[in-house]
Point group: D2
Chain length 308, copies 4
Amino acid sequence: MKWSKTNGLIAATLTPFHQDGSINLDIIGRYVDHLLSIGITQVFVNGTAGEHASLTVEEREAIAERWIKEGKGKLTRIIIQVGTLNLPDSQRLAAHAEAIGADGISVITPCYYATSDISSLVDYCAAVAHSAPKTPFMYYHFPAITHATFRLTDWLLAAEKKIPTLIGAKCTCLDLYDACDAANLFGGRFDVPVGADFQQLGAMAMGLPGAIGISFSLLGKAQNRMVQAYNSGDIATAQREQFKVQEFWNASGSNAGLHPMIASFKAIMKLNGLDIGSPRLPIKPLDDAKVAELSAKLKAMDFSKWIQ
Amino acid sequence: MKWSKTNGLIAATLTPFHQDGSINLDIIGRYVDHLLSIGITQVFVNGTAGEHASLTVEEREAIAERWIKEGKGKLTRIIIQVGTLNLPDSQRLAAHAEAIGADGISVITPCYYATSDISSLVDYCAAVAHSAPKTPFMYYHFPAITHATFRLTDWLLAAEKKIPTLIGAKCTCLDLYDACDAANLFGGRFDVPVGADFQQLGAMAMGLPGAIGISFSLLGKAQNRMVQAYNSGDIATAQREQFKVQEFWNASGSNAGLHPMIASFKAIMKLNGLDIGSPRLPIKPLDDAKVAELSAKLKAMDFSKWIQ
Amino acid sequence: MKWSKTNGLIAATLTPFHQDGSINLDIIGRYVDHLLSIGITQVFVNGTAGEHASLTVEEREAIAERWIKEGKGKLTRIIIQVGTLNLPDSQRLAAHAEAIGADGISVITPCYYATSDISSLVDYCAAVAHSAPKTPFMYYHFPAITHATFRLTDWLLAAEKKIPTLIGAKCTCLDLYDACDAANLFGGRFDVPVGADFQQLGAMAMGLPGAIGISFSLLGKAQNRMVQAYNSGDIATAQREQFKVQEFWNASGSNAGLHPMIASFKAIMKLNGLDIGSPRLPIKPLDDAKVAELSAKLKAMDFSKWIQ
Amino acid sequence: MKWSKTNGLIAATLTPFHQDGSINLDIIGRYVDHLLSIGITQVFVNGTAGEHASLTVEEREAIAERWIKEGKGKLTRIIIQVGTLNLPDSQRLAAHAEAIGADGISVITPCYYATSDISSLVDYCAAVAHSAPKTPFMYYHFPAITHATFRLTDWLLAAEKKIPTLIGAKCTCLDLYDACDAANLFGGRFDVPVGADFQQLGAMAMGLPGAIGISFSLLGKAQNRMVQAYNSGDIATAQREQFKVQEFWNASGSNAGLHPMIASFKAIMKLNGLDIGSPRLPIKPLDDAKVAELSAKLKAMDFSKWIQ
């Protein structure tokens, strides 16, 4: 088992659906090529952006398989999110991910029987990790959803001895202080990519070079320009790109919650030429009037040119 | 499709597990007999007390089938909770419940892509209800978990025309005002059993005679004494039983959240002679010291005698 | 120091303002007479309904004095709420209330440096109580505002030895189980009036005969009819009045938060003949369109006749 | 009225108390000299660090006066926080601050009658600002306390036309995206110092060069080293100092809420030679055991040397 620390952008992929509501596996090949064309070579599949919680276990397996099949050899890293609400399904998905050759698995903890008891959640994660004993394990910290409101740092301290495959955590949280502490634990042993596209420059400055985000399926080139500017010491350029990213989030209405975020991104993907369909209930798609409004706002910010 | 309004107690059943963590179907027959022996004839299966979110779809089907098989002809009402995080599985469980002859289905809305947008959740529930077109549909209102923080009354107003099988809602909430308003809608058309065992006398006085609760698997006789006293106009006796119920909740530590509640109830069921095992992760069982403490507290309140 | 347990209704009075925003002391005499005319003889002054937090210490003293001056001999109980954000002002108001002859004081704990540490809040309250050593002390439990999210019962257990003047608590909370436990502590030593007008019948059935509410300045007669029906064993009539109370809360929009509640009640007081002015910022008054709408809704429910 | 944008560190001063609980004005002169000695020339008085909400209006006036008297000519900027729960006191303090020559005022909105209605809070702030018509007005955005959970950006957009003296906002929030958007409004018109000492490097990289923090009374030199390193393009050194700052926050237990934060800082100030006393209730001071533990932790991180 090997893991190199995340550097740069990992796209949290969206799940494509057909018009009849079934998953659209066949478009995943084109999705891979699209990502490569905008400079994205790493993916996080069946995460929050991927509507994992709205999918059956069978659908999640099929999606994971297709990403591996289409992406292997082209993408440099494919992480499969295998957390469900229940332990047996999470274990099944973990074993499946290992069997199909995932580079890593990630696990979000249950949000129904939610708890901030670290011990319970470490035990739960250890049991999932045990089903994929050769695959790097990335804890998925997302307290706004899981109500597991401890610091990531404290979870990692408790889990370190109990999960042999633990390599770090996806930190979906505004608290850069905690993410940074987590990344510095044990002399910097853990990989802590952050999930906060709209303040990524701040994260990088705090020593967090990895990011996992929904927006990279669209903004790969722009965000990479920011990363490169930052890495080359050109903060002024990095800030200009960062501000543009924020302008995009504002224009797209994606900062108002998971529902509008996912609905907007799917609409923009379609406007942008890759029709991955609409979200599944309980998330509703944007109606025609909102798509028109969104389209006008993107035009006003010269979106098509900017993302080239 | 017919439905008579809930009167009295519906046990929210706990899910039995073997020591190896697998579900224990074979004990369900004895569970049915136990309930009958304490005066409980109605059940709500695969609800929160039943750790539904910690079960796979296949396990939920097997549990529902066994309750129907063992309970049909003995129990007067068997409601199956079919809500999952995703629409296809919820639809599958709804169709299954109808196929096996459930008296009603209940649906909790997704807590991952949580929303307070009533329209989204009505559409979601309508799609589930459509898969069981001949089975009474009971919305499961539990805002502390689902973060669907509107009033139940408003949801019912929005859903009334869109879900032909809608017969009411389980209201798991301290807000008796809302529950009472909901029960009075359209001249009292909806059945609104409440899920708040520890303030049930208050609910009854507010015109809400039905209750769905985890504690009835243990306290059936005691709670029925309270109901009967209230119904016969003997408020003083009803209050004495109500206070005793509260004493029990305090002694059992069950008022501290779902984890301690489910863990305690399972421990007490075992102490009381029906070994339905421990909870599944992320809920941890009580350790031996806590079981001993619990046992002592129950003895101090003369629990065994009281529940006869 | 003597205290008899609250039985029936205590009006949480609204603070009258002139059009220029200054407090209107001169109308308090009429307010007293109005209350007596609708069967209300007990008041809770400078509480949440009274916009205490929007008043200066000097204004609070002037208001308390006027209620005592106008009410003494007419009203049977005048409780002054003396909690502020800071200890010296709370102590000053406590001493002042004792000096002017208040029947009791009540203290809400600070919501800025909010805490759920019971020990800190008991020490704080003990220090305030010490400034009014001969006046009954009623803790004001309102966790939705103070974020002091422990059970009232636990606070009383911790405070019992430390506050010699402690006689109970105003419990502004939907949790009747906790309120009832609190009232049963030490063999029923504490007075626990509840602040939940819209589910008062439930509270009464749970053994809680006292209530403190904003609505009693308007609904005194109607709510007293409910109390009398309940006390005489006529639950059916009590329920009809209870449902009518709920209909009023719905019509008035008062269930949507403190701002609309206080703004609506002030508008209705004026419509009803006692012009106590508008709320103070940050609470905005209803605009004319909303007052017209409110007036129409009240007419539709035959409000004027009902409250006679 | 003039205002230059904040650059660098503003100390959110702690309020000194005597052992008897009264405010200690006489030590403020030494406090000023201490700040100057560690390179801090700007202060924010009577803010959250200053326990403003635990002070009477008279105390707040006395403290503000003393800071102005001792600091004028030595400090380059003195901002007085004048927000209270009520409008008249906030207006009084605003007028007082202007009269004594404050460089700016800041206003936190009421947390008792809390609201997320922007219009109400803009009106409230405009009324306060009106009492200090010649003094720059800085909105104090602290949604975790005020429950005013809109974006700062939206508040500024609504307030811009209504408050002539508005120069920006103190943004006490982890959301750098919002703070950055706010700072970019109207071509960068507003000053938006952030209140998040423990992730300040991230804020700076996001284009936010100003900071207001409790820790600068202790860490002025260290945090200035970080600022200077960042400004000179030496990110590696800046990160080392940033990590050390985080190590300090962890060691001091100051990340566990306002109570432990203020109690710890006061204890450390005393350990460090400037005895400004203990906090006022409801905040409790650290007990002796905790002070000893804290002292040991600081020693272990070579605190005394680091802050030189």
